[in-house]
């Protein structure tokens, strides 16, 4: 009688319930299997991309009830946005120089409270109104080593863990590195043969660089010999360094000079502490310096901000 009514058998009911329970359990237990392209990971990618872009391409912004501007490094208590790009017009929110990184802003970023940094750069996840900050590592490196600014390494956050998914973005940037003055051979003034004299007025916050190109090296044994400041012979390692430039690549200078060589001399800023005019003599061998002095060429008339290529890496993880 019962069989003829076509009702669900108890066996079948039990079977289908067990199957549904097992299926539900599977779906619940392994959520990643059924969601294509897990949303968690891509939001990390967006965060890393956004953070790097904001730092490199934005100047930042500060504001209070009366005034505002892009020079947030001078108003650390009223920061609205953090950005490191150089700006020449602090009242405009735009910059013409993305990828040029300001040294002052970078140094101020080192002093910024970590919670402010996380909040302003948006390195957190917002889950139903509760903020969970991501782990992050932001670093500026040059020749695979962290950049040193005021004896502090340009690294923020903690080092990246090995056992987690990490979203990483690297940006190529130019960072301010003190002052540089470029001289061509005929710009250099000399009082005695093969000795170029440059007047330098201090003080400087950072090391200064003198770049010399198009030297008239008339002999095969033309060379750079030494540097003297106010009559005192300088030490090639502790007071200054000399490099030959080939594009962006610098190699330590030794040996002879030819007409096409570009010399770059980097002087310790402590040498020019007094705010008086210093006399720097660069002694060469067999180099013709056509312009007689005095008056001598002045470093400060030729100098501009020196930029060097570095890499900024932003890593973000859960």
């Amino acid at each position: 009688m019962i069989d003829e009514k076509g009702q669900i058998a108890v066996d079948f009911l039990l079977g289908i319930s067990l199957f549904l329970i097992a299926l539900t359990f599977t779906v619940q237990f392994i959520p990643g299997m059924f969601i294509s392209g897990s949303a968690e990971e891509s939001s990390l990618d967006y965060t890393a991309y956004r953070t790097a872009t904001v730092l490199v391409e934005d100047t930042g912004w500060w504001g209070n009830s009366t005034s505002s501007g892009t020079n947030w490094e001078d108003h650390p208590n009223n920061i609205m946005r953090i950005g490191l790009a150089v700006d020449d017009d602090t009242s405009s929110k735009l910059t013409n120089s993305p990828n040029l990184i300001s040294k002052n802003k970078t140094e101020q970023l080192m002093l910024v409270n970590e919670s402010v940094l996380i909040e302003k750069l948006g390195i957190y996840n917002n889950v139903d109104g509760t903020l969970f900050s991501y782990g992050y590592n932001i670093s500026i490196t040059q020749n695979d080593e962290p950049l040193l600014l005021n004896n502090t390494t340009a690294v923020w956050g903690e080092s990246a863990p090995d056992n987690k998914d990490i979203a990483k973005i690297t940006r190529v940037v130019l960072i301010e590195k003190g002052k540089i003055a470029s001289f061509e051979g005929y710009d250099l003034t000399s009082q005695t043969a093969s000795k170029a004299t440059i007047n330098i007025t201090g003080p400087f916050e950072d090391n200064i660089t003198i770049q010399i190109s198009d030297l008239n090296c008339s002999y095969t044994d033309s060379a750079f010999l030494n540097a003297t400041l106010d009559g005192t012979l300088l030490n090639r390692t502790s007071n200054y360094t000399v490099h030959k430039m080939d594009g962006w690549t610098a190699s330590k200078y030794s040996g002879n000079l030819s007409n096409s060589d570009i010399l770059r001399l980097n002087f310790d800023h402590d040498l020019f502490n007094a705010s008086t005019e210093h006399r720097l003599d660069l002694r060469f061998r067999n180099v013709t310096l056509p312009t007689p002095g005095p008056p001598f060429a002045r470093f400060n008339d030729h100098s501009s901000t020196h930029y060097e290529p570095t890499y900024m890496t932003v890593e973000v993880w859960q």
Binding site: L14, L18, A22, S42, N99, K168, L174, D246
Partner: protein, 173 residues
């Protein structure tokens, strides 16, 4: 009971648990290892290539010998041939890019209009692009003055402006 060949309840439950655990083990051990997804790797490469062109473009004179516009202005209008002359006349551009893009290979094309025809010239050839190559572009404007300063072979009139698209195809080795 035996005649009906039914699955015992406990056997079914056991099988389900075993299957779930197997899938769980496999998915846990493989999915986490993938460091970044395809898209993110492409974005990363594109961003770096774009940065390299931007940095070449905005580098102030004292910091870099020649900027992007000057490099292009100094071109002698001969195309690159591979492998005999892979960088044609643009050694400075090549040096700059190879310094800024370590472990990345790239080709550079220049695209510009001449007599209403679009010319695309290969100027740096480092090989044939891999499957994951990305293309980034930057525009430079040449004038007669920049060209003659750099000793290039662009034949421009005194008041002519020539817009050139620098097309960088980059890929990871």
């Amino acid at each position: 009971m035996n005649n009906k060949a039914q699955l015992h309840t406990l056997e079914g439950l056991g099988a389900a648990v075993l299957m779930t655990l197997t899938i769980l083990t496999i998915s846990q051990s493989t999915m986490i290892v993938t460091p970044q997804n395809e898209l993110a790797v492409d974005v990363h490469l594109e961003q770096m290539s774009n940065d390299a062109l931007t940095v070449m473009d905005i580098a102030p004179h004292s910091s870099a010998q020649y900027n992007l516009t000057e490099c292009i202005a100094g071109w002698d209008m001969t195309e690159a041939t591979y492998p005999s002359s892979p960088t044609s006349d643009l050694d400075e551009l090549d040096e700059g890019l190879s310094y800024l893009l370590p472990n990345i290979l790239y080709n550079v094309d220049l695209a510009y209009f001449e007599n209403d025809n679009l010319n695309v010239k290969k100027v740096i050839i480092k090989g044939s692009p891999a499957d994951n190559a990305v293309v980034v572009r930057h525009f430079v404007t040449l004038t007669n003055e920049t060209v003659s300063d750099m000793g290039g072979a662009w034949n421009l009139a005194e008041d002519e402006l020539k817009v050139v698209e620098v097309r960088l195809t980059a890929w990871k080795v």
